[in-house]
Chain length 564, copies 2
């Protein structure tokens, strides 16, 4: 098994040649000093760091895993040292504001960094994965006193953070959260309740852990509007250990290097973050960024699986390929089914990067563009594209990694080559940060039907106007047709139920149209090499035929029956 | 986590109401005493045995797994006792001939038994999984002396057996096998070489283990025609331990209860089975039966995953479903996406059973029907249907189990509910007994193109003539159209390469057409209950739209370019 190798050249091609990222960044005054050279330098260092420090720990993370004993969690060998190197080198604070101890670099660089980290070692990457969201949450919603105590610690990654949302009976449905927060005389709150699925709820990577906890005041109304957000440190400002305990960690299918904790709060001292009753809003401020990172986990794990399978297909000989002149056996890559698998996954990876990095740039624009209209347009892009990226690319991450496993035959099923770990690890990304079914409803029911399809039509129109992407015109028209069908489908007697049932088809169709757009962009600048022409052809041959099928399926469900 | 529950009523409905199995069996003189009551009695007992003895060991099999130490393999707690109960009760010898100590019952009953066993405990079921093939191999190819010593031991399951085919450089491509067999003065052979992926190569379930080993005589030609088959017992007839050692067992993604062994033969004493140079033929005699059982592993594991997800969807409440009047939250089953998932998998399970049990009946007919033409027709059905069933239903077993996992949200990813084990276990069935890519080539290149499509057209014609299945006519016509396209595709300048590339689409298309046929049959007898009407509608809404897509994809590849 060889460890994941970040490929700087491939990412640079997407960022610079396809997306002109440095030109986009140059329009944002906050990044006046960020030019192409600086971006490349940061990415070069990031790739080296990931390859040297993080990738080699992937297997030990899976095999040893995080270990719980008497409320303490010991991380796998090497994880602690790697994390210290990570935050001390400033990787945790890449996008943190300079006034909070950070480097103030664009979000798009962070997107690449986390894609590589996750490809190299998904389990380890869970640890810093929530830092940025916690930092933004504290920065924008916490009191001065809390910010003073916690902002730069979290912003630099010296302390890690958690998001304590889920409870045994409240998973996707956070409105059912029951944990209580009882006001105390000193202005703090006593937090009571049990949270599950808390990634990094306990560990030995940092001296302190900052928990952000959803709970209800005693007089709060039921449902989501009764939820408030509280900051509960593992150790308070006086160094006192809080009444929060890791009861156990889950045995999971994958990401064994990340402790998934059951956390019990026994009157733990916490402080309100943001307003009472607006806990979800405070927590979801960074949702688009978090979901983009999960989409990039799908891209990254698929690339990791692809690297292994591609290497194996170029060294393993089995049977003669059709038309072969080999005496005994051909390389696997000469077999059409194997080539198809590898090129198809490559089309998803490279196209996914175009869309995800463009969304990373949009996050930067939404925050820093001097013109309000540009900020709004970027925000609109993120709102529509993020659920599509999250659901479609995490699904492809899992299924594509499984397809790459198949290249190995029986060797893929054993630990030795490391590819079965990719498949196990990738499965979680379809579930967390909002299940893929939730993403589909968010896209179709809330965002598309919610504004009569206006934002979606506007986005498609802007993509169609892109002179570099005319090749994708037909697929984008299918997306418009599907959008129109869904809007009309509300008149169907079972419209609401059927729209929920086809939400995943609509999302998938949108992902295919966007993938086509991404490859149209790639097509205008790519070199005439099999590395790029192969996946471009695979898109046409093996992926896009699904587009009319999804449209037909949606039409069949939503066609309004004619009156007799 | 609840253990798998074999559902006698559901299997009886398919066997008797849909397939009239007892009428089919009544036409076979060998089974003159096998009537509907006896079949039901055997199945009733089988279900009880599986539920009581095998299903409860599924989790310990996964968690403890088979353990290797100094060449010895210890099976998980309870496995040895369960195996003793299994063979002593006669389950191992259900279809073994009475003269070899067996019960001489139809293969179709064995098919149901192994489906249930695998659904209940895939790892445990690997142990007896190769018995029947070894029994047939010894019965038809071994010398009298070998039969005398080994046939009834293997036929009753008192001793377990292995198939030692794969070597590190010879997986799908058995022609590359290098193990040597050097003739000895006493008529035996000294076997030398290393075999990998040997299921049950070593264990503590039985007093002896009978290895069937592919190897080459010193003067054998290269390639598959140089391979001969040898029987190497762990202990020979004098009780002497053979020079065959289990070097290690593999760490795998799943089926931890089955030791996957690396076996070293250091001049181990073996005896020729069948003719020199015809080892593959001797070993592949039972291939159709073995592949049918693997297809049923897919069906069984999918049913196991479905049982868990369906139960969870009927007890777990999250969020309000569209149009709901619930105050707080609905059951998951009320959510359209969840219902879609469960009904879609049910369509695959029940339709798969129709096809697999019919193929089980065909195995019985091919062996025992008094008329040669009927035997031939049954053999033809098996040859065409088996690769389709193996590939399509093991793929659905894995992907469908993953879809069922998704119903659990985050709880699906942790061990507690047992569903992630189903997903891990199910993955191997896409690989072993001929990878699914090999199945696709076997179907399209060897069987369909190999006889100009005659057998396929004849089979489709016979299904179209079935008055109970007229609803599937259109889908069967798509299968004919795809067959014609593939035959014409040989004229394409890149025909051979492209046919290999679309072989998996052709197989998938065939599976969809057959699934439609199976449900047309179900449709004529099923009760008007949601249990049956739901999956029937799901087939129409969510599965069959893929059929024209596969046809279009194949057409796009194989359309012969017009001369300018």
């Amino acid at each position: 098994m060889s460890a994941y190798q970040p490929r700087l050249d491939e990412v640079q091609f997407i960022l610079h040649d396809v997306l002109q990222a440095s030109h986009q960044i140059a329009q944002l005054p906050a990044f006046a000093e960020v030019d192409l050279d600086l971006m490349n330098q940061v990415l070069d260092e990031a790739g080296k760091f990931v390859a040297a420090e993080i990738a080699p720990l992937n297997r030990v993370g899976d095999e040893v895993g995080a270990q719980w004993r008497d409320g303490q969690v010991t991380m796998p060998p090497g994880f602690k040292e790697a994390y210290a190197a990570f935050w001390q080198a400033g990787w945790a604070s890449l996008t943190t504001a300079p006034e909070d101890g950070g480097q103030g670099l664009p979000a798009v660089l962070d997107a690449v960094l986390y894609e590589w980290l996750c490809a190299a070692n998904h389990g380890w990457t869970m640890a810093p994965g929530l830092l940025h969201g916690a930092y933004e949450c504290i920065k924008h919603h916490a009191s001065d006193a809390l910010r003073e105590a916690y902002l730069s610690k979290v912003g630099t990654g010296e302390w890690l953070a958690t998001m304590c949302l889920t409870e045994p009976h409240a998973g996707s449905d956070l409105g059912r959260v029951r944990s209580k927060a009882v006001p105390q005389a000193d202005g703090s709150y006593a937090i009571e309740g049990t949270k599950i699925f808390i990634s990094g709820g306990e560990h030995d990577l940092t001296d302190n852990i900052v928990h952000l906890v959803l709970a209800r005041l005693p007089d709060a109304p039921p449902g989501p509007k009764g939820l408030s957000l509280f900051l509960v440190p593992k150790f308070d400002r006086e160094g006192q250990r809080s009444a929060v305990t890791c009861e156990r960690i889950e045995e999971k299918m994958g990401i064994h290097g990340s402790p998934t904790c059951v956390m019990r709060f026994d009157g733990a001292r916490g402080w309100l973050v943001g307003e009472v009753g607006r806990g979800l809003q405070a927590m979801f401020v960074m949702m688009n960024a978090a979901r983009l990172h999960v989409a990039l986990q799908g891209v990254g794990l698929l690339d990791a699986a692809w690297q292994k399978a591609d290497a194996y297909a170029h060294e393993r000989r089995q049977m003669r390929a059709p038309g072969s002149t080999e005496k005994e056996a051909d390389l696997l890559i000469a077999h059409p089914a194997m080539r198809r698998t590898l090129e198809t996954q490559r089309a998803w990876i490279d196209g996914g990067r175009v869309l995800a990095y463009r969304t990373g740039l949009a996050l930067d624009q939404a925050k820093h563009h001097p013109e309000a209209s540009a900020r709004e347009a970027a925000q609109g892009w993120c709102a529509l594209i993020t659920p599509i990226l999250k659901a479609a690319w995490t699904e492809q991450g899992f299924h594509g990694a499984s397809a790459c496993l198949q290249v190995f035959g029986g060797h893929g099923y054993v630990r030795e080559w490391g590819i079965e770990q990719n498949v196990r690890d990738a499965r979680i990304a379809m579930i967390y940060e909002g299940t893929n079914e939730i993403q589909a409803n968010d896209l179709l029911i809330r965002k598309v039907l919610g504004d009569e399809g206006q934002a979606m039509r506007a986005m498609v129109a802007s993509l169609m106007a892109d002179p570099q992407a005319s090749a994708a015109r037909e697929s984008l028209e299918v997306l418009l047709a599907a959008t129109a069908l869904c809007l009309e489908g509300r008149d169907h007697p079972e419209g609401l139920v059927r729209l929920h049932a086809v939400a995943s088809d609509y999302l998938r169709l949108a992902s295919l149209a966007l993938l086509h757009w991404a490859w149209a962009r790639i097509g205008t600048v790519m070199p005439a090499q099999a590395r790029w022409t192969g996946p471009a052809q695979a898109l046409h041959d093996w992926i896009l035929p699904e587009l009319p099928m999804r449209l037909a399926l949606i039409a069949q469900q939503l066609k309004v029956p004619q009156a007799a």
